[in-house]
Amino acid sequence: MESTVTTATSGEKIWGGDNEPMGANYGKLMMWFFIVSDALTFSGFLAAYGFSRFKFIETWPIADEVFTHFPFFHGVDAPMYYVALMTFILIFSSVTMVLAVDAGHQMKKDKVVLYMFLTILGGAIFVGSQAWEWKNFIKGEYGAVETKGGSLLQFVDKEGKRVALADFASSANAGREQLTKSKGMWFMSEAPLASYSVAQVQAGFKANPELLVRTEVITKDKKKTVLSRAQSEAMLTDAHYVVEGANLVRNEYGSKLFANFFFFITGFHGFHVFSGVIINVIIFFNVLVGTYEKRKSYEMVEKVGLYWHFVDLVWVFVFTVFYLA
């Protein structure tokens, strides 16, 4: 009963205004319920990701083959380290935020200023890191080929190590020139051409007998299927499109939906971080000019703090769903 009956026993005036349902003032209560609805929005996205992953459970990309970059370490295979670092940055900015709220309760303006500044800094670094992460994802590393049936073929050597298109695609017969507005008739243009044509990839594959094709299908021992040389050659005759990096239509990592979900969910989260930083900046300046000092309450800092922790909370789940599991 305690959870449903809030004010009847407290002797408070219920209908005259000025009362605080559930012991929280209007702003804080509404921030909580906004967070509830936003949490459900994110849950909808992540559950949709789970739906698609279960639907294509045998062909879904393996996460630690996709995110392997670390700044200044080119070519080093470093799965997860960078996102783990991003996670720390965001958790730490959550800590400085809660320290700012704590300092606000004690009306220590200087400390609130310092901690809010650190929080904003952490948020900005996080958004920057995410941009870098997107850049690597969009650029891609190895390249792949799509068949007429829509499945994706990647290339490996005898040991099963990935081989990039650039390492074997034939440079002979360099395909055709990009059609641009300045060259075509009637201002025609076309989508950017891939670095290599399908024919160049096929010729290069023929010339390198040690290469094999790897399909999307996951085997019993949870690795991607590597075809025999004969099967590989047969499969490659069906190729019709060279895929490099990722966009909203296709990506070199595997299932087309994978990149769509990655862009949409991490993008939506990144937008939340970005707006969180903006809101924090506004509150930061309010603290600086002494608005809350005059108001004798730093509760506004607590409200943006709630939002900021929520962004951290969502990232904890995005981290697990996209990078770990």
């Binding site: 559930m22 509830v36 459900l40 279960f54 459970i57 783990a84 309760h105 069906d238 709630l306």
Partner: protein
């Protein structure tokens, strides 16, 4: 303000320690991928993933309870925020994951070849 505010700095750093430790454990497990966990499937997911999700919920608990300080709110507020979210998410996950698995089976066992 109905309640008196005492400084929580000790607890904040303790929770930061817990969250960091759990994240480090997750990353170590994710890189090592021990076979006895990764290769064992249980209810549609391998044990390693179950551990990841359990640790994630553990972290989420600390973020909501300590950082968002829902432990200091009235129990009515706490209940009205936490229970609907938990119930709706479990419901949504159950519906969508069951359906996803069903469609997977349909694709797999039908005479339609979709991935070639």
């Amino acid at each position: 303000m109905s309640h008196v505010h005492v400084s929580n700095i000790g607890r904040i750093w303790k929770v930061f320690g817990i969250l960091s430790a759990v994240t480090i454990v997750e990353v170590i497990l994710g890189i090592a991928k021990p076979d006895f966990l990764y290769m064992t499937d249980f209810l549609g997911m391998n044990l390693l993933n179950w551990i990841f999700y359990a640790l994630t919920i553990y972290k989420a608990y600390y973020i909501v309870w300590a950082f968002m300080h829902i432990e200091g709110e009235a129990s009515s507020l706490r209940s009205s925020v936490v229970y609907p979210v938990i119930f709706l998410i479990l419901y949504l996950l159950f519906i969508l994951l069951t359906e996803g698995h069903y469609i997977f089976e349909v694709f797999k066992n039908s005479s339609i070849k979709w991935n070639f």
